[in-house]
Symmetry: C2
Protein backbone atom coordinates (compact mmCIF):
# COMPACT_ATOMS: atom_id res chain seq x y z
CA UNK A 1 0.00 0.00 0.00
CA UNK A 2 2.84 2.35 0.93
CA UNK A 3 4.73 1.34 -2.19
CA UNK A 4 1.64 1.87 -4.26
CA UNK A 5 1.16 5.25 -2.67
CA UNK A 6 4.77 6.25 -3.30
CA UNK A 7 4.59 5.16 -6.90
CA UNK A 8 1.29 6.93 -7.37
CA UNK A 9 2.93 9.97 -5.90
CA UNK A 10 5.87 9.67 -8.25
CA UNK A 11 3.66 9.40 -11.29
CA UNK A 12 1.73 12.43 -10.21
CA UNK A 13 4.82 14.44 -9.28
CA UNK A 14 6.40 13.74 -12.61
CA UNK A 15 3.28 15.22 -14.06
CA UNK A 16 3.79 18.14 -11.70
CA UNK A 17 0.74 17.27 -9.69
CA UNK A 18 -0.76 16.68 -6.31
CA UNK A 19 -0.91 13.83 -3.79
CA UNK A 20 -3.46 11.93 -1.79
CA UNK A 21 -4.84 9.92 -4.59
CA UNK A 22 -5.66 6.32 -5.03
CA UNK A 23 -4.42 4.28 -7.92
CA UNK A 24 -6.90 1.90 -9.38
CA UNK A 25 -5.46 -0.46 -11.88
CA UNK A 26 -7.25 -2.53 -14.37
CA UNK A 27 -5.43 -5.83 -14.73
CA UNK A 28 -6.69 -6.54 -18.18
CA UNK A 29 -3.54 -6.63 -20.25
CA UNK A 30 0.00 -5.45 -20.45
CA UNK A 31 -0.95 -2.04 -21.77
CA UNK A 32 -3.38 -1.48 -18.94
CA UNK A 33 -4.76 1.90 -18.11
CA UNK A 34 -4.37 3.70 -14.85
CA UNK A 35 -7.35 5.54 -13.56
CA UNK A 36 -6.59 7.96 -10.79
CA UNK A 37 -9.48 8.59 -8.47
CA UNK A 38 -9.61 10.48 -5.21
CA UNK A 39 -12.40 10.26 -2.66
CA UNK A 40 -13.92 13.51 -3.80
CA UNK A 41 -13.94 12.33 -7.39
CA UNK A 42 -15.71 9.12 -6.36
CA UNK A 43 -18.22 11.21 -4.47
CA UNK A 44 -18.65 13.59 -7.39
CA UNK A 45 -19.24 10.74 -9.85
CA UNK A 46 -21.83 9.13 -7.59
CA UNK A 47 -23.49 12.41 -6.86
CA UNK A 48 -23.72 13.37 -10.51
CA UNK A 49 -25.13 10.00 -11.50
CA UNK A 50 -27.72 10.23 -8.74
CA UNK A 51 -28.90 13.73 -9.64
CA UNK A 52 -28.98 13.07 -13.36
CA UNK A 53 -30.75 9.73 -13.02
CA UNK A 54 -34.36 10.58 -12.53
CA UNK A 55 -35.47 11.48 -9.07
CA UNK A 56 -33.10 9.42 -6.99
CA UNK A 57 -32.04 12.47 -5.13
CA UNK A 58 -34.47 14.82 -3.45
CA UNK A 59 -34.42 18.37 -4.78
CA UNK A 60 -31.06 19.86 -3.91
CA UNK A 61 -30.17 23.48 -3.26
CA UNK A 62 -26.45 23.56 -3.93
CA UNK A 63 -23.71 21.34 -5.28
CA UNK A 64 -21.78 19.77 -2.39
CA UNK A 65 -18.70 21.90 -1.84
CA UNK A 66 -16.39 18.90 -2.10
CA UNK A 67 -17.51 18.62 -5.73
CA UNK A 68 -16.37 22.15 -6.60
CA UNK A 69 -13.22 21.29 -8.50
CA UNK A 70 -14.91 18.36 -10.21
CA UNK A 71 -17.98 20.26 -11.29
CA UNK A 72 -15.72 22.98 -12.64
CA UNK A 73 -13.60 20.45 -14.48
CA UNK A 74 -16.73 18.83 -15.80
CA UNK A 75 -18.29 22.04 -17.08
CA UNK A 76 -15.15 23.58 -18.54
CA UNK A 77 -12.83 20.67 -19.33
CA UNK A 78 -14.75 19.09 -22.18
CA UNK A 79 -16.76 16.30 -20.54
CA UNK A 80 -19.97 18.31 -20.39
CA UNK A 81 -19.73 19.06 -24.09
CA UNK A 82 -18.86 15.43 -24.81
CA UNK A 83 -21.88 14.22 -22.87
CA UNK A 84 -24.08 16.72 -24.70
CA UNK A 85 -22.78 15.64 -28.07
CA UNK A 86 -23.53 12.00 -27.39
CA UNK A 87 -27.11 12.79 -26.38
CA UNK A 88 -27.62 15.16 -29.29
CA UNK A 89 -26.31 12.53 -31.71
CA UNK A 90 -28.95 10.23 -30.30
CA UNK A 91 -31.66 12.87 -30.67
CA UNK A 92 -30.61 13.63 -34.24
CA UNK A 93 -30.68 9.92 -35.04
CA UNK A 94 -34.19 9.65 -33.63
CA UNK A 95 -35.34 12.78 -35.50
CA UNK A 96 -33.83 11.49 -38.74
CA UNK A 97 -36.32 8.63 -38.71
CA UNK A 98 -39.30 10.98 -38.76
CA UNK A 99 -40.54 12.66 -41.92
CA UNK A 100 -42.17 15.68 -40.36
CA UNK A 101 -45.48 17.12 -41.42
CA UNK A 102 -46.74 20.58 -40.46
CA UNK A 103 -47.92 19.12 -37.17
CA UNK A 104 -44.69 17.59 -35.95
CA UNK A 105 -43.26 19.63 -33.11
CA UNK A 106 -40.34 19.65 -30.72
CA UNK A 107 -40.12 21.35 -27.37
CA UNK A 108 -36.79 22.76 -26.28
CA UNK A 109 -36.17 24.36 -22.93
CA UNK A 110 -34.27 27.67 -23.01
CA UNK A 111 -31.97 28.25 -20.00
CA UNK A 112 -29.05 25.85 -19.96
CA UNK A 113 -30.57 24.01 -22.86
CA UNK A 114 -30.49 26.45 -25.81
CA UNK A 115 -28.53 29.21 -24.12
CA UNK A 116 -26.12 28.95 -21.25
CA UNK A 117 -25.84 30.52 -17.82
CA UNK A 118 -22.38 29.14 -17.20
CA UNK A 119 -20.92 32.67 -16.91
CA UNK A 120 -23.26 33.35 -13.98
CA UNK A 121 -22.63 29.98 -12.40
CA UNK A 122 -18.88 30.32 -12.75
CA UNK A 123 -19.01 33.21 -10.26
CA UNK A 124 -21.16 31.02 -7.99
CA UNK A 125 -18.64 28.20 -7.92
CA UNK A 126 -20.68 26.25 -10.48
CA UNK A 127 -23.60 25.86 -8.13
CA UNK A 128 -21.72 25.29 -4.87
CA UNK A 129 -22.93 28.72 -3.76
CA UNK A 130 -26.65 29.30 -3.20
CA UNK A 131 -28.76 30.69 -5.99
CA UNK A 132 -28.57 34.47 -5.98
CA UNK A 133 -31.77 35.75 -7.46
CA UNK A 134 -30.85 39.46 -7.88
CA UNK A 135 -27.47 38.67 -9.44
CA UNK A 136 -29.03 36.06 -11.71
CA UNK A 137 -31.71 38.52 -12.83
CA UNK A 138 -29.02 41.08 -13.54
CA UNK A 139 -27.14 38.49 -15.57
CA UNK A 140 -30.02 37.41 -17.79
CA UNK A 141 -31.20 40.99 -18.21
CA UNK A 142 -27.96 41.67 -20.06
CA UNK A 143 -29.15 39.31 -22.79
CA UNK A 144 -25.63 37.91 -23.06
CA UNK A 145 -26.27 34.20 -22.51
CA UNK A 146 -24.08 32.39 -25.02
CA UNK A 147 -25.56 29.65 -27.19
CA UNK A 148 -25.03 26.11 -26.09
CA UNK A 149 -23.31 25.17 -29.36
CA UNK A 150 -24.31 21.50 -29.18
CA UNK A 151 -27.99 22.34 -28.77
CA UNK A 152 -27.71 25.00 -31.47
CA UNK A 153 -26.58 22.18 -33.76
CA UNK A 154 -29.66 20.19 -32.75
CA UNK A 155 -31.90 23.22 -33.20
CA UNK A 156 -30.60 23.89 -36.70
CA UNK A 157 -30.99 20.24 -37.66
CA UNK A 158 -34.60 20.17 -36.48
CA UNK A 159 -35.47 23.41 -38.30
CA UNK A 160 -33.76 22.19 -41.46
CA UNK A 161 -35.71 18.95 -41.37
CA UNK A 162 -38.98 20.90 -41.16
CA UNK A 163 -40.02 20.38 -37.54
CA UNK A 164 -41.91 23.09 -35.70
CA UNK A 165 -39.70 24.02 -32.79
CA UNK A 166 -41.24 25.52 -29.66
CA UNK A 167 -38.94 27.13 -27.13
CA UNK A 168 -40.54 26.85 -23.71
CA UNK A 169 -39.13 28.72 -20.73
CA UNK A 170 -40.08 29.51 -17.16
CA UNK A 171 -38.79 33.07 -17.62
CA UNK A 172 -41.47 35.69 -17.07
CA UNK A 173 -43.03 37.14 -20.18
CA UNK A 174 -43.79 40.46 -18.56
CA UNK A 175 -40.18 41.38 -17.92
CA UNK A 176 -38.03 39.12 -20.05
CA UNK A 177 -39.79 38.55 -23.38
CA UNK A 178 -37.81 40.99 -25.49
CA UNK A 179 -34.48 40.33 -23.82
CA UNK A 180 -34.88 36.59 -24.26
CA UNK A 181 -36.00 36.84 -27.87
CA UNK A 182 -33.08 39.13 -28.74
CA UNK A 183 -30.61 36.96 -26.85
CA UNK A 184 -31.77 33.84 -28.71
CA UNK A 185 -31.70 35.64 -32.05
CA UNK A 186 -28.20 36.99 -31.52
CA UNK A 187 -27.03 33.51 -30.64
CA UNK A 188 -28.41 31.96 -33.81
CA UNK A 189 -31.72 30.54 -32.68
CA UNK A 190 -33.65 31.67 -35.73
CA UNK A 191 -36.62 30.05 -37.41
CA UNK A 192 -38.44 28.56 -34.46
CA UNK A 193 -42.21 28.38 -34.40
CA UNK A 194 -42.82 30.10 -31.09
CA UNK A 195 -41.05 31.26 -27.96
CA UNK A 196 -43.31 30.70 -24.96
CA UNK A 197 -42.58 32.52 -21.73
CA UNK A 198 -44.46 32.31 -18.47
CA UNK A 199 -47.42 34.69 -18.53
CA UNK A 200 -49.03 36.05 -15.39
CA UNK A 201 -51.62 33.28 -15.61
CA UNK A 202 -48.94 30.79 -14.61
CA UNK A 203 -47.18 32.92 -12.02
CA UNK A 204 -46.07 30.93 -9.03
CA UNK A 205 -47.00 27.57 -10.54
CA UNK A 206 -44.52 24.73 -10.33
CA UNK A 207 -42.41 24.18 -13.42
CA UNK A 208 -43.98 20.76 -13.99
CA UNK A 209 -47.53 22.16 -13.89
CA UNK A 210 -46.78 25.22 -15.98
CA UNK A 211 -44.90 23.34 -18.67
CA UNK A 212 -47.49 20.55 -18.75
CA UNK A 213 -50.24 23.12 -19.32
CA UNK A 214 -48.36 24.72 -22.18
CA UNK A 215 -47.60 21.38 -23.82
CA UNK A 216 -51.26 20.48 -23.52
CA UNK A 217 -52.22 23.73 -25.26
CA UNK A 218 -49.75 22.98 -28.04
CA UNK A 219 -51.24 19.53 -28.51
CA UNK A 220 -54.74 20.96 -28.48
CA UNK A 221 -53.71 23.20 -31.36
CA UNK A 222 -53.14 20.01 -33.32
CA UNK A 223 -49.39 19.52 -32.93
CA UNK A 224 -47.75 16.20 -32.16
CA UNK A 225 -44.82 16.58 -29.80
CA UNK A 226 -42.15 14.29 -31.23
CA UNK A 227 -39.50 15.15 -28.71
CA UNK A 228 -38.91 17.23 -25.63
CA UNK A 229 -35.44 18.33 -24.55
CA UNK A 230 -34.44 19.91 -21.27
CA UNK A 231 -31.74 20.09 -18.63
CA UNK A 232 -34.19 19.81 -15.72
CA UNK A 233 -36.32 16.83 -14.78
CA UNK A 234 -39.17 19.30 -14.35
CA UNK A 235 -39.03 19.89 -18.12
CA UNK A 236 -39.64 16.21 -18.69
CA UNK A 237 -42.22 15.30 -16.06
CA UNK A 238 -45.96 15.80 -15.96
CA UNK A 239 -48.33 15.57 -18.88
CA UNK A 240 -48.18 15.70 -22.66
CA UNK A 241 -44.48 14.93 -22.48
CA UNK A 242 -44.11 14.08 -26.15
CA UNK A 243 -43.14 10.85 -27.81
CA UNK A 244 -39.65 10.91 -26.34
CA UNK A 245 -37.98 13.01 -23.70
CA UNK A 246 -34.29 13.77 -23.54
CA UNK A 247 -32.53 14.87 -20.38
CA UNK A 248 -29.36 16.80 -21.04
CA UNK A 249 -26.87 17.17 -18.21
CA UNK A 250 -26.88 19.99 -15.69
CA UNK A 251 -25.07 19.32 -12.43
CA UNK A 252 -25.10 22.99 -11.36
CA UNK A 253 -28.65 23.46 -10.20
CA UNK A 254 -32.00 21.80 -9.74
CA UNK A 255 -35.41 23.35 -10.28
CA UNK A 256 -38.03 21.62 -8.18
Amino acid sequence: MLLLGLLGNLVLRLQGQKLQRMMIRSELDSSSETVVVDDDERYWLSWRLAVETNNNVRPWKTVPIRCYKHVENYMTGGQYEHDLNMIVDEIVFYASQIHPTQQDAWILDVDDTCISNIPYYKAKRYGCDPFDSPVFKEWITKGMCPANPVILRLFKTLIEKGFKVFLLTGRYQETLAKITMDNLHKQGFIGYERLILRSLKYKGQSAVKYKSSIRKEIEEEGYRICGNVGDQWTDLQGECLGKRTFKIPNPMYCIS
Copy 2:
Protein backbone atom coordinates in the same frame (compact mmCIF):
# COMPACT_ATOMS: atom_id res chain seq x y z
CA MET B 1 3.93 -7.58 -11.74
CA LEU B 2 1.93 -4.67 -10.38
CA LEU B 3 5.11 -2.67 -9.92
CA LEU B 4 6.22 -3.43 -13.47
CA GLY B 5 2.81 -2.49 -14.72
CA LEU B 6 2.88 0.84 -12.94
CA LEU B 7 6.40 1.63 -14.06
CA GLY B 8 5.55 0.57 -17.58
CA ASN B 9 2.61 2.84 -17.47
CA LEU B 10 4.76 5.70 -16.23
CA VAL B 11 7.32 5.20 -18.98
CA LEU B 12 4.61 5.12 -21.57
CA ARG B 13 3.14 8.28 -20.20
CA LEU B 14 6.48 10.07 -20.19
CA GLN B 15 6.97 9.05 -23.79
CA GLY B 16 3.65 10.63 -24.42
CA GLN B 17 2.62 7.68 -26.54
CA LYS B 18 -0.50 6.67 -24.76
CA LEU B 19 -3.83 6.78 -26.46
CA GLN B 20 -3.84 10.48 -27.27
CA ARG B 21 -4.46 11.47 -23.72
CA MET B 22 -5.78 14.84 -22.95
CA MET B 23 -4.74 16.82 -19.96
CA ILE B 24 -7.45 18.79 -18.36
CA ARG B 25 -6.24 21.35 -15.90
CA SER B 26 -8.36 23.12 -13.45
CA GLU B 27 -7.07 26.63 -12.90
CA LEU B 28 -8.41 26.94 -9.40
CA ASP B 29 -5.29 27.53 -7.41
CA SER B 30 -1.55 27.11 -7.51
CA SER B 31 -1.72 23.49 -6.38
CA SER B 32 -4.20 22.68 -9.08
CA GLU B 33 -5.44 19.19 -9.81
CA THR B 34 -4.89 17.35 -13.02
CA VAL B 35 -7.43 14.86 -14.17
CA VAL B 36 -6.09 12.56 -16.83
CA VAL B 37 -8.74 11.49 -19.23
CA ASP B 38 -8.33 9.50 -22.41
CA ASP B 39 -10.77 9.51 -25.29
CA ASP B 40 -12.17 6.16 -24.26
CA GLU B 41 -12.77 7.35 -20.75
CA ARG B 42 -14.58 10.42 -22.03
CA TYR B 43 -16.65 8.17 -24.24
CA TRP B 44 -17.35 5.78 -21.37
CA LEU B 45 -18.48 8.57 -19.05
CA SER B 46 -20.79 10.02 -21.68
CA TRP B 47 -22.11 6.62 -22.64
CA ARG B 48 -22.83 5.65 -19.05
CA LEU B 49 -24.58 8.91 -18.30
CA ALA B 50 -26.70 8.52 -21.43
CA VAL B 51 -27.76 4.95 -20.71
CA GLU B 52 -28.46 5.60 -17.04
CA THR B 53 -30.34 8.83 -17.67
CA ASN B 54 -33.78 7.79 -18.72
CA ASN B 55 -34.28 6.80 -22.31
CA ASN B 56 -31.76 9.00 -24.00
CA VAL B 57 -30.22 6.02 -25.66
CA ARG B 58 -32.24 3.53 -27.66
CA PRO B 59 -32.17 -0.02 -26.33
CA TRP B 60 -28.62 -1.29 -26.65
CA LYS B 61 -27.43 -4.84 -27.15
CA THR B 62 -23.86 -4.69 -25.90
CA VAL B 63 -21.52 -2.30 -24.16
CA PRO B 64 -19.28 -0.59 -26.76
CA ILE B 65 -16.02 -2.53 -26.82
CA ARG B 66 -13.99 0.64 -26.25
CA CYS B 67 -15.66 0.83 -22.83
CA TYR B 68 -14.44 -2.62 -21.77
CA LYS B 69 -11.66 -1.52 -19.44
CA HIS B 70 -13.77 1.25 -18.01
CA VAL B 71 -16.84 -0.85 -17.37
CA GLU B 72 -14.64 -3.44 -15.67
CA ASN B 73 -12.98 -0.75 -13.55
CA TYR B 74 -16.37 0.64 -12.73
CA MET B 75 -17.91 -2.67 -11.68
CA THR B 76 -14.92 -3.99 -9.75
CA GLY B 77 -12.94 -0.93 -8.66
CA GLY B 78 -15.38 0.49 -6.13
CA GLN B 79 -17.30 3.14 -8.05
CA TYR B 80 -20.32 0.92 -8.71
CA GLU B 81 -20.62 0.18 -5.00
CA HIS B 82 -20.08 3.83 -4.17
CA ASP B 83 -22.85 4.86 -6.56
CA LEU B 84 -25.16 2.22 -5.08
CA ASN B 85 -24.47 3.36 -1.55
CA MET B 86 -25.32 6.95 -2.36
CA ILE B 87 -28.64 5.93 -3.92
CA VAL B 88 -29.47 3.53 -1.10
CA ASP B 89 -28.70 6.22 1.49
CA GLU B 90 -31.23 8.36 -0.33
CA ILE B 91 -33.82 5.56 -0.38
CA VAL B 92 -33.29 4.85 3.31
CA PHE B 93 -33.72 8.53 4.07
CA TYR B 94 -36.98 8.60 2.14
CA ALA B 95 -38.21 5.38 3.81
CA SER B 96 -37.32 6.75 7.23
CA GLN B 97 -39.94 9.47 6.79
CA ILE B 98 -42.73 6.92 6.40
CA HIS B 99 -44.35 5.14 9.32
CA PRO B 100 -45.54 2.04 7.54
CA THR B 101 -48.87 0.39 8.08
CA GLN B 102 -49.73 -3.14 6.96
CA GLN B 103 -50.49 -1.75 3.52
CA ASP B 104 -47.19 -0.01 2.81
CA ALA B 105 -45.23 -1.95 0.24
CA TRP B 106 -41.96 -1.76 -1.64
CA ILE B 107 -41.11 -3.42 -4.92
CA LEU B 108 -37.57 -4.62 -5.47
CA ASP B 109 -36.33 -6.17 -8.67
CA VAL B 110 -34.25 -9.34 -8.28
CA ASP B 111 -31.47 -9.78 -10.88
CA ASP B 112 -28.75 -7.19 -10.47
CA THR B 113 -30.81 -5.47 -7.86
CA CYS B 114 -31.05 -7.91 -4.92
CA ILE B 115 -28.66 -10.52 -6.25
CA SER B 116 -25.85 -10.09 -8.72
CA ASN B 117 -24.94 -11.63 -12.04
CA ILE B 118 -21.52 -10.01 -12.14
CA PRO B 119 -19.81 -13.45 -12.18
CA TYR B 120 -21.62 -14.29 -15.41
CA TYR B 121 -20.97 -10.86 -16.91
CA LYS B 122 -17.31 -10.96 -15.98
CA ALA B 123 -16.87 -13.84 -18.43
CA LYS B 124 -18.76 -11.81 -21.02
CA ARG B 125 -16.47 -8.82 -20.72
CA TYR B 126 -18.99 -7.00 -18.52
CA GLY B 127 -21.53 -6.83 -21.29
CA CYS B 128 -19.23 -6.11 -24.24
CA ASP B 129 -20.01 -9.63 -25.51
CA PRO B 130 -23.55 -10.43 -26.61
CA PHE B 131 -25.99 -11.97 -24.17
CA ASP B 132 -25.53 -15.73 -24.14
CA SER B 133 -28.85 -17.21 -23.15
CA PRO B 134 -27.77 -20.86 -22.57
CA VAL B 135 -24.73 -19.87 -20.52
CA PHE B 136 -26.78 -17.37 -18.53
CA LYS B 137 -29.43 -20.01 -17.84
CA GLU B 138 -26.73 -22.39 -16.70
CA TRP B 139 -25.37 -19.68 -14.40
CA ILE B 140 -28.63 -18.80 -12.68
CA THR B 141 -29.64 -22.45 -12.43
CA LYS B 142 -26.69 -22.92 -10.09
CA GLY B 143 -28.42 -20.66 -7.58
CA MET B 144 -25.09 -19.03 -6.80
CA CYS B 145 -25.86 -15.37 -7.46
CA PRO B 146 -24.23 -13.41 -4.67
CA ALA B 147 -26.18 -10.79 -2.76
CA ASN B 148 -25.72 -7.22 -3.79
CA PRO B 149 -24.60 -6.17 -0.31
CA VAL B 150 -25.79 -2.58 -0.65
CA ILE B 151 -29.30 -3.66 -1.63
CA LEU B 152 -29.29 -6.30 1.10
CA ARG B 153 -28.69 -3.43 3.52
CA LEU B 154 -31.71 -1.64 2.05
CA PHE B 155 -33.80 -4.80 2.15
CA LYS B 156 -33.04 -5.41 5.81
CA THR B 157 -33.79 -1.80 6.67
CA LEU B 158 -37.17 -1.95 4.94
CA ILE B 159 -38.11 -5.23 6.61
CA GLU B 160 -37.01 -3.93 9.99
CA LYS B 161 -39.11 -0.82 9.58
CA GLY B 162 -42.16 -2.97 8.87
CA PHE B 163 -42.67 -2.50 5.15
CA LYS B 164 -44.08 -5.33 3.05
CA VAL B 165 -41.38 -6.10 0.52
CA PHE B 166 -42.31 -7.66 -2.80
CA LEU B 167 -39.55 -9.12 -4.93
CA LEU B 168 -40.60 -8.94 -8.56
CA THR B 169 -38.63 -10.72 -11.27
CA GLY B 170 -38.95 -11.56 -14.94
CA ARG B 171 -37.53 -15.03 -14.25
CA TYR B 172 -39.94 -17.83 -15.19
CA GLN B 173 -41.86 -19.38 -12.34
CA GLU B 174 -42.16 -22.73 -14.05
CA THR B 175 -38.44 -23.42 -14.11
CA LEU B 176 -36.80 -21.02 -11.68
CA ALA B 177 -39.08 -20.57 -8.67
CA LYS B 178 -37.30 -22.90 -6.27
CA ILE B 179 -33.79 -22.01 -7.41
CA THR B 180 -34.49 -18.31 -7.05
CA MET B 181 -36.15 -18.66 -3.66
CA ASP B 182 -33.26 -20.73 -2.34
CA ASN B 183 -30.66 -18.42 -3.82
CA LEU B 184 -32.29 -15.40 -2.20
CA HIS B 185 -32.64 -17.18 1.12
CA LYS B 186 -29.01 -18.30 1.16
CA GLN B 187 -27.96 -14.74 0.45
CA GLY B 188 -29.90 -13.32 3.37
CA PHE B 189 -33.09 -12.11 1.72
CA ILE B 190 -35.40 -13.36 4.43
CA GLY B 191 -38.69 -11.94 5.61
CA TYR B 192 -40.11 -10.55 2.40
CA GLU B 193 -43.85 -10.62 1.75
CA ARG B 194 -43.81 -12.36 -1.60
CA LEU B 195 -41.50 -13.39 -4.41
CA ILE B 196 -43.29 -12.97 -7.72
CA LEU B 197 -41.95 -14.72 -10.79
CA ARG B 198 -43.31 -14.62 -14.31
CA SER B 199 -46.09 -17.18 -14.67
CA LEU B 200 -47.08 -18.65 -18.03
CA LYS B 201 -49.86 -16.06 -18.23
CA TYR B 202 -47.21 -13.38 -18.83
CA LYS B 203 -44.94 -15.41 -21.09
CA GLY B 204 -43.49 -13.34 -23.90
CA GLN B 205 -44.87 -10.05 -22.57
CA SER B 206 -42.57 -7.05 -22.40
CA ALA B 207 -41.01 -6.37 -19.04
CA VAL B 208 -42.87 -3.06 -18.73
CA LYS B 209 -46.25 -4.69 -19.39
CA TYR B 210 -45.64 -7.70 -17.18
CA LYS B 211 -44.33 -5.72 -14.24
CA SER B 212 -47.07 -3.09 -14.58
CA SER B 213 -49.73 -5.83 -14.43
CA ILE B 214 -48.21 -7.32 -11.29
CA ARG B 215 -47.94 -3.94 -9.58
CA LYS B 216 -51.56 -3.28 -10.48
CA GLU B 217 -52.57 -6.59 -8.88
CA ILE B 218 -50.61 -5.69 -5.76
CA GLU B 219 -52.37 -2.33 -5.55
CA GLU B 220 -55.73 -3.99 -6.10
CA GLU B 221 -55.02 -6.16 -3.09
CA GLY B 222 -54.95 -2.95 -1.10
CA TYR B 223 -51.24 -2.23 -0.88
CA ARG B 224 -49.72 1.19 -1.41
CA ILE B 225 -46.43 1.02 -3.29
CA CYS B 226 -44.17 3.46 -1.46
CA GLY B 227 -41.09 2.78 -3.52
CA ASN B 228 -39.89 0.78 -6.48
CA VAL B 229 -36.24 -0.10 -6.99
CA GLY B 230 -34.64 -1.62 -10.06
CA ASP B 231 -31.55 -1.62 -12.23
CA GLN B 232 -33.54 -1.49 -15.50
CA TRP B 233 -35.68 1.36 -16.77
CA THR B 234 -38.27 -1.29 -17.64
CA ASP B 235 -38.67 -1.87 -13.88
CA LEU B 236 -39.59 1.76 -13.45
CA GLN B 237 -41.78 2.50 -16.44
CA GLY B 238 -45.44 1.75 -17.16
CA GLU B 239 -48.25 1.84 -14.64
CA CYS B 240 -48.68 1.69 -10.87
CA LEU B 241 -45.06 2.72 -10.47
CA GLY B 242 -45.32 3.55 -6.80
CA LYS B 243 -44.83 6.84 -5.05
CA ARG B 244 -41.14 7.03 -5.92
CA THR B 245 -38.94 5.04 -8.25
CA PHE B 246 -35.22 4.53 -7.83
CA LYS B 247 -32.93 3.55 -10.67
CA ILE B 248 -29.78 1.82 -9.51
CA PRO B 249 -26.88 1.61 -11.93
CA ASN B 250 -26.31 -1.17 -14.39
CA PRO B 251 -24.07 -0.37 -17.32
CA MET B 252 -23.70 -4.04 -18.37
CA TYR B 253 -26.99 -4.74 -20.07
CA CYS B 254 -30.32 -3.29 -21.04
CA ILE B 255 -33.67 -5.08 -21.03
CA SER B 256 -36.02 -3.52 -23.54
